[in-house]
């Protein structure tokens, strides 16, 4: 029986493997960048501290953002680098602050992004293997695949970004699709009395001034008037019912990866959508996972995605027999530009939760 210390040492070797640069970003970080990227939703899980000058700091809640920010700041954007890390992260849990140990890798600027994801999957598999977890349940999600479905689906363009924004948020997505279906059932409303836009802008500006708001601050009168028209246009721009049904059907597809991907391929051929690129990538990584862990079950869930819009191609989770999420990761190309990279940079990475691995091994 190998003890906890030796297993952690084995994990440390993985994040320092050949060609991987181990980094150790500061534990005290400016909280602003997390709020910038993820808003209040993620912000509520930060352990915050306020400096005397009013700047908010947080204890490191994860590794990816500081590592990527540093990579961009050093002017490396575009050059292939593999980073590894292992150390404590801090979160605000429901019952108070919690400290965990995370280990992981980030592969940035790699020439072959699919190979990079394979390497990330291999890392995750080995990290679990260090804890004798050889039959994890793997859950795959397709961000690029959903974006492709959305791009092909017939609907007024104004709705595409609004539907995309709700991907990874099943309740909000259901609510939106229900609302779209209902509004489709309604007869189109009689067009409101057309008002001249300049006139409407002036009307809004007058009301702002009368109510004591500064029209130059925050939302401008033109912006309010514009969106008022846009809202009318949205109400008139119906998403066809067959499209809503298709999206609902697509998002409900979940099961053994090969079967689920076959279903999606069948759906694509019925609707004449070209989904071949994302489907080929998913099948490839499914095969990689099968080769890495022949006993494990790999499922694909069409509605699965992290809530953060910077994830791009494929995302994954590895779960233990208890259902605990042991590893999470995927491709997140958009993060680089969100953090200031001026050229597109591919990115793939994952993190494992060390305490959960230890617990899983014991049970």
């Amino acid at each position: 029986m190998i003890n906890t210390f030796e297993r952690r040492t084995a994990l440390a070797h993985l994040v320092e493997a050949e060609g991987v640069a181990r980094v150790n970003p500061p534990m005290l970080l400016e909280a602003g960048q997390y709020f910038e990227l993820a808003g209040e939703e993620f912000g509520r899980s930060l352990l915050m501290s306020l400096a005397n000058d009013g700047i908010e700091y947080c204890l490191r809640p994860e590794f990816t953002v500081p590592i990527v920010a540093q990579y961009v700041a050093q002017g490396l954007a575009g050059s292939p680098v593999a980073y590894g890390y292992m150390g404590p992260v801090f979160r605000q849990g429901t019952e108070g602050p919690v400290e965990y140990v995370q280990a992981g890798v980030e592969l940035l600027g790699q020439l072959d992004p699919e190979q990079a994801l394979d390497e990330v999957l291999t890392f995750a598999r080995r990290a679990l293997g260090a804890y004798r977890i050889t039959t994890p349940k793997v859950r795959l999600g397709g961000v690029e695949l959903f974006e492709a479905v959305l791009a092909h689906a017939e609907m007024p363009d104004v709705w595409r970004p609004r539907i995309r924004a709700r991907f990874g948020h099943p309740e909000a997505m259901t609510r939106l699709l229900d609302r779209l279906a209902e509004s489709y059932a309604d007869k189109p409303e009689a067009a409101a009395e057309p008002i001249d836009k300049a006139e409407l802008t002036e009307y809004v500006a007058d009301r702002m001034i009368a109510a004591g708001f500064n029209p130059a601050e925050g939302r401008h009168p033109e912006e309010v008037a514009e969106r008022y028209y846009e809202k009318q246009a949205l109400a008139a721009a119906h998403v066809p019912l067959p499209t809503i049904d298709l999206l609902r059907l697509y998002l409900s597809i979940e099961g053994r990866a090969s079967t689920a991907l076959d279903e999606i391929e069948a759906l694509a051929s019925v609707y004449k959508f070209d989904l071949s690129a994302p489907l080929v990538a998913l099948r490839h990584h499914n095969a990689t996972l099968k080769a890495l862990a022949p006993q494990s079950t790999v499922t694909f869930d069409a509605s699965f995605s992290p809530r953060l819009e910077y994830y791009t191609g494929i995302v994954f989770e590895m779960l233990g027999q208890s259902g605990a999420v042991l590893a999470t990761g995927g491709q997140y190309d958009r993060l680089l530009q969100r953090l200031g990279a001026t050229v597109p940079v591919t990115a793939a990475g994952c993190a494992v939760w060390v305490e959960r691995l230890e617990q899983e091994m014991q049970s």
């Binding site: 709020f35 500064n214 969106r227």
Partner: protein, 241 residues
Amino acid sequence: MSNGLTLAIPSKGRLEEQSREIFAAAGLVIERASNSRSYFGTAARLPDLSIRFMPAGDIARELIRGGIDLGVTGQDLIEESSEDSEVSVLTVRSLGFGQADVVIAVPDPWIDVTQIVDLADVAADFRSRHGRWLRVATKYINLTRRHFAQHGIIEYRVVESNGATEAAPATGSADFIVDITSSGSTLTANGLRVLEDGVIMKSEAKLFVSRTAEWTPMRKAQLEALMSVLNWVPPGITTRL
């Protein structure tokens, strides 16, 4: 020092008056020691009961933490102070006053924003238009975050506001607010309008028992005795702690 129970009453304003009235009507006359500025009180019928006068927000926090045994405060403050209030406090009963709603209110001239979905839409592209996040002023940071998360609103920031929240949109420190209101007149006077589906929760004053306080058999007996004096709930409340 006795090891008796501690009951907290809001320390000022209508909430204090109404709390003392309703306890007096139930036969428990609460005296504020020496003068109205003291933070301690007594009830002649129950000499072992310590009474403390505290701000309603502190009462909510202390109930959750177990620093006091019972207290009168608003449901809104309990929900704000705890992710899962059922775990930390037990509601004895509603007291029939302090009714108010926690609402989302936007500048009335925002004629395009009538529901939460509009707000989600405005939030989504606010940053690209203005180079900053849409800001909501509130003292209900946790309630706001939880409610917005449920509605899939992600792109915003909270500006903490303690007092005169309704003025924040006019002064430019925030774009809209989440605040408590009973009649809505303060909001209207400040040019704000509650969204059609903008009621986050309905609140009122309640008597709560802390589940996290130390409940020895002796103290449980004291709680049952207090409840039988008040006669608001049937005997046996301690079995639910």
